[in-house]
Amino acid sequence: MKRAAVALLFFASLIGAWELAVRSGRWSAVLLPSPFFVAEYIWGALLDGTLLESTWVTLKRLLVGYAAGVLIGLPLGLLTSTSQFLEDTLGALALGFQTLPSVCWVPLALVWFGQTEGAMLFVVIMGTVWSVIIATDHGARNIPPIYARAARTMGSEGFHKWTRVILPASLPFLVSGMKQGWAFAWRSLMAAEIYVTILTGFGLGHLLHYGRELNAMEQVIGIMTVIVVIGLLVDRVLFSPWERFLHRRWGTNLKET
């Protein structure tokens, strides 16, 4: 309760400082709109449906691309962890592409897929898959070998060993890898949406882009706020329960409460 009050106070004073800065008149009201003006925009966009619609378009692209990235990356990461050959080939490739900022895939995606949903998905998948491969590979390699030995003596081999021992044993690494993959996917999608107009659906990135073109800074800042809130919500809804579960099971990072 006390922590919530502290956070509330902090954000309230931040907004207060912002409002004071606007009222001081040192900056043009066009470049720095009042926080109330931004709130008004968000409220209006919520009521007329544009915000919900573009949020839905963006999230749909994100979830489909992210799910595909994880589904491709997870088995590949497990594979690279098992063989020296795959590590030296696929593993090296993944490491290389992971260092490539995913917005760099956009020009290629446009040429290959045109201004389509396919281009968006391609960029998101390219943003996700490499870091998922690397995190999974890292996780599977860091499993204490004694788990696999114990499992073998109890008769666990092959598919059973992979699904009941290796996969659960590497869960803590997998979740952090998936979280990283998510962060990459989110960033690459925003970059792609700002960069490219896809006629089949206007996402949040497009709203941001057109906000700039119309010189509507309340729209730019409003959409930025929405993007931040979505990021926080996903972290709370998708990853926090997982992490809490893992900490409970593994007994790691337990806070003294």
Binding site: A150, R152, T153, G155, P168, A169, R249
Partner: protein, 268 residues
């Protein structure tokens, strides 16, 4: 106490036969002859302790019997059949806790049972409950592994190893990391469980008293290269109390022999 010249096992039928097993570990820097021509026969229902200083190859020998490590030369027969890999008839209880942290205590005991196709789920649950009760942890059935103390973890590990009803139980210094009071309690438990179930047990340890307390026979091994130095029969009645004077007198004589093998190694 007699130090028999040959590692034979008397009149009972041999459960495990280790024949001329050698194992060498080579890496860039070292070349270790872990085992050199080791032969041993273990009778059905016998409790054998492999005793020796670290580096004498006792854990390697246990892993070879388990089928986790392949010998360079020689072979292991279990019930007359060649051991070619790990199997549920020879379960291992490891030095450190090898319990799975993603499962609770009950889930860990169930792991091996689920790999026995001829059991129904109801039977598996009942067996798991029985073994948790046997090791005195029925109240901690749904405890997370990290919530258990070191002694409790090894009890769960024991229940997990016993539950699939292996013929042979291989124990690799299972109590090494525990405090003395917890260990003393576990010595009683393990003897009781052994007398009830009459499993064949091979127990690896570097603790002389522990070996005298638990073993029908103590196989003393010497390091570099790992060989069997001497075999001692321990005819003390059960349940043995690790703090009893008779046990201590056995232990002191064996400790002298251990010292001999360790000195021999140090002078090489």
């Amino acid at each position: 106490m007699e130090a028999s010249p040959h590692p034979s096992s008397g009149t009972r039928p041999a459960k495990l036969v280790i024949e001329g097993v050698s194992k060498r570990f080579t890496s860039n820097r070292s070349n270790l002859q872990a085992l050199d021509d080791v032969s041993l026969s273990v009778a059905e229902g016998e409790f054998v302790c492999l005793l020796g200083p670290s580096g004498c190859g006792k854990s390697t020998l246990l892993n070879i019997v388990a089928g986790l490590t392949r010998p360079d030369r020689g072979r292991v027969l279990a019930d007359g059949k060649l051991v070619e890999g790990p199997g549920q008839e020879r379960l291992v209880m490891f030095q450190e806790s090898a319990l799975f942290p993603w499962l609770d205590a009950f889930g860990n005991v169930m792991f091996g049972l689920k790999l026995k196709p001829d059991l129904t789920n109801r039977e598996r649950r009942r067996i798991a409950d029985d073994y948790l009760e046997l090791v005195g942890l029925e109240k901690f059935k749904h405890a997370q592994i990290h919530e258990l103390s070191g002694g409790m973890k090894q009890r769960v590990a024991l229940a997990r190893a016993l539950a699939p009803d292996p013929q042979v139980l291989l124990m690799d210094e299972p109590f090494g990391a525990l405090d003395a009071m917890t260990r003393d309690q576990l010595y009683d438990d393990i003897q009781r469980i052994w007398m009830e179930s009459r499993k064949t047990i091979i127990f690896v340890t570097h603790n002389v008293r522990e070996a005298v307390c638990l073993g029908d026979r103590i196989v003393l091994m010497s390091p570099s290269p790992g060989r069997i130095a001497q075999v001692f029969d321990i005819p003390l009645p059960r349940l043995r109390d690790i703090n009893s004077p008779e046990l201590a007198s056995y232990a002191s004589r064996i400790a002298a022999a251990v010292k001999g093998t360790a000195d021999g190694a140090a002078s090489e």
